[in-house]
Symmetry: C2
């Protein structure tokens, strides 16, 4: 089958690889209907050391189950399924607590051990706990939004949940990538009164406004912090969604928080310590977040996707086939595209 | 009147100063019945640069109201009052949200602007919002516990609340000072099932056990982290109360947290960045806390003090008069004493 592999910085190739197949009795084999390129895929695209064997890429997908292992009972061949970016058994204490990304028998899709979804098919471990079968009449136009439930929409929602967005909250979203945009949508859905997006790309800002953003801060650094203070009556925001993953973005997130506020971090951290330990302490500002338990959130979010009240699939502004994946990485890296949907 | 002033490292003096008096119409003048020496007073005791004028010390007290300003309405002359370490107006948005330590018109007791409670009397700003009148028949034996509601017991409780201690929680308390000990008591009161105290002073450990600690970890560093993992079934604790304020203690707190767990910081941070940004992210560990809104917590804690179900005043193992305050600092600094109660 064909699959996308990354060999080093800026080096993504489509290759013929061994067909995906069942290894364990708890696996499912999923024919990929839609996959995605993720903002987090851009980190290695920018700085991965060259390898000889390549890494199988892709951790977001919607597909159709083609085969199941002997111990798979809740998923059937022919099911249309959402594949969360992390696999999980659905039975351990952490899964029961809805923290599937810390599953005792879990792990992540798209690496050397578990190949990726930017491929014709993918082996999914712990199929019963991982895959979410969508038993509904599905129009193809819904596939993009379903694909976001495998990562970006669930991740934006996680940031909003951790940041304690509720009815009437003043919210700041740091980052105008696909996760930030989904964070805007999630904040709106949870009842935020004011949603300030920090970003400077016109196309993204436009979509953020359509998703519910009420204000835009294009400034950076201290000016941006000052601007948010002005927009929030001088004190900052209740809830901050940190959707970038840099030290600078985290600094901004903490400094725009209102006393007693909360920061939800979902940008994979490219920093070793969380800045502003003293301001966050004296303001009683909480910093939380991490890999989103998107599997847990599908129950909440799917009905809103199916009834059309949210349409997170709009974050995709480009559709490619597998051959178009390498150029899709380039386009996202160069900010030509917000997020690329892949139809293998 | 006599008052304690700090002039530099290890240099606390009892001096005759101008009598405390009303300045603002919202002030109250409180005759101090009991004051305390706080663990946070030891930071400047260890490293304060020498000054010529000295700093008025003390931010914890119980006393009797001697005079009130024209605009004070809820506090009367003769009331026995608890004086929280932070003053607050009780009417701003933050006070309404029970975050009195971020009051728009608030501040802290015991500094150059607002003199301290290690004195015969103290001027308390924003008396209506700050002071808590205790309308009960008070036995002198209760005064020590009432004094803890002005800081340490409320602070330990804040750590437990922020760390989300609830029925059945596994809890770690980092630090065996008076705040840590009150944290043990608070965790027990909130229903914790397992309370692990990290410390190595026999007298403190003994009191921690009497307050409800179920396990003791005397190791430090990686060994301590390993030991907590063993004691908690391999995964760490749900709730960690960080009651020290150093980078090392914060590192330990984060590393003993279970995935999805929470750290409540109440040790005044002597570090600029919060360590372990990546482990805390990948474990979805929340780090929160700050100066405790002890004024808000008195409503919850006072009934339990009055009915004897908690006795946080046991953290005091030494009682001195004002003349004994300098030696009280020395005794706490040298770990001879857990916490010193002052009867002016």
């Amino acid at each position: 089958m064909k699959a996308a592999l990354m060999y080093g910085t800026g080096d993504v190739r489509i290759e013929n690889v061994a067909d995906a197949q069942l290894h364990e009795s708890t696996d499912a084999l999923v024919r990929v209907t839609r996959a995605c390129i993720c903002g987090s895929d851009l980190w290695p695209y920018r700085d991965m050391a060259a390898t000889e064997h390549g890494i199988h890429m892709g951790h977001e997908a919607v597909g159709v189950v083609e085969a199941i292992g002997a111990d798979v009972s809740s998923i059937s061949v022919g099911d249309t399924v959402i594949m969360p970016f992390a696999f999980s058994d659905g039975t351990c204490q952490f899964c029961h607590e809805h923290l599937h990304t810390s599953c005792e028998n879990g792990g992540f899709m798209g690496n050397e051990q578990v190949w990726g979804a930017q491929a014709e098919a993918v082996r999914v471990p712990q199929a019963d706990g991982t895959l979410y079968a969508v038993h509904a009449d599905l129009d193809d136009s819904l596939l993009a939004s379903l694909a976001t439930l495998s990562d970006v929409m669930g991740t934006g929602h996680h940031a909003a949940v951790v940041a304690r967005v509720r009815e009437g909250s003043k919210v700041v979203v740091v980052g105008d990538g696909a996760v930030g945009l989904c964070g805007v949508l999630a904040a709106k859905r949870l009842g935020a009164e004011q949603i300030i997006i920090m970003g400077r790309h016109d196309d993204r800002i436009q979509l953020a406004r359509e998703f519910g953003a009420t204000d835009v801060v294009r400034e950076r650094g201290d000016e941006a912090i000052e601007r948010v203070r002005e927009l929030t009556g001088g004190f900052g925001a209740h809830a901050i969604l940190e959707c970038v993953g840099t030290d600078a973005a985290t600094h901004t997130a903490i400094r725009v928080a209102r006393p007693g506020g909360a920061v939800g971090r979902v940008g994979v951290p490219h920093y070793d310590t969380v800045p502003d330990a003293q301001p966050s302490f004296f303001g009683n500002i909480t910093v939380g977040g991490g890999p989103a338990p998107v599997r847990a959130y599908i129950d909440d979010l799917l009905p809103d996707v199916l009834n059309g009240s949210i349409n997170p699939g709009r974050v995709f502004d480009s559709l490619v086939d597998l051959a178009g994946v390498p150029d899709g990485y380039r386009a996202m890296h160069e900010r030509e595209s917000i997020k690329v949907l892949v139809k293998p």
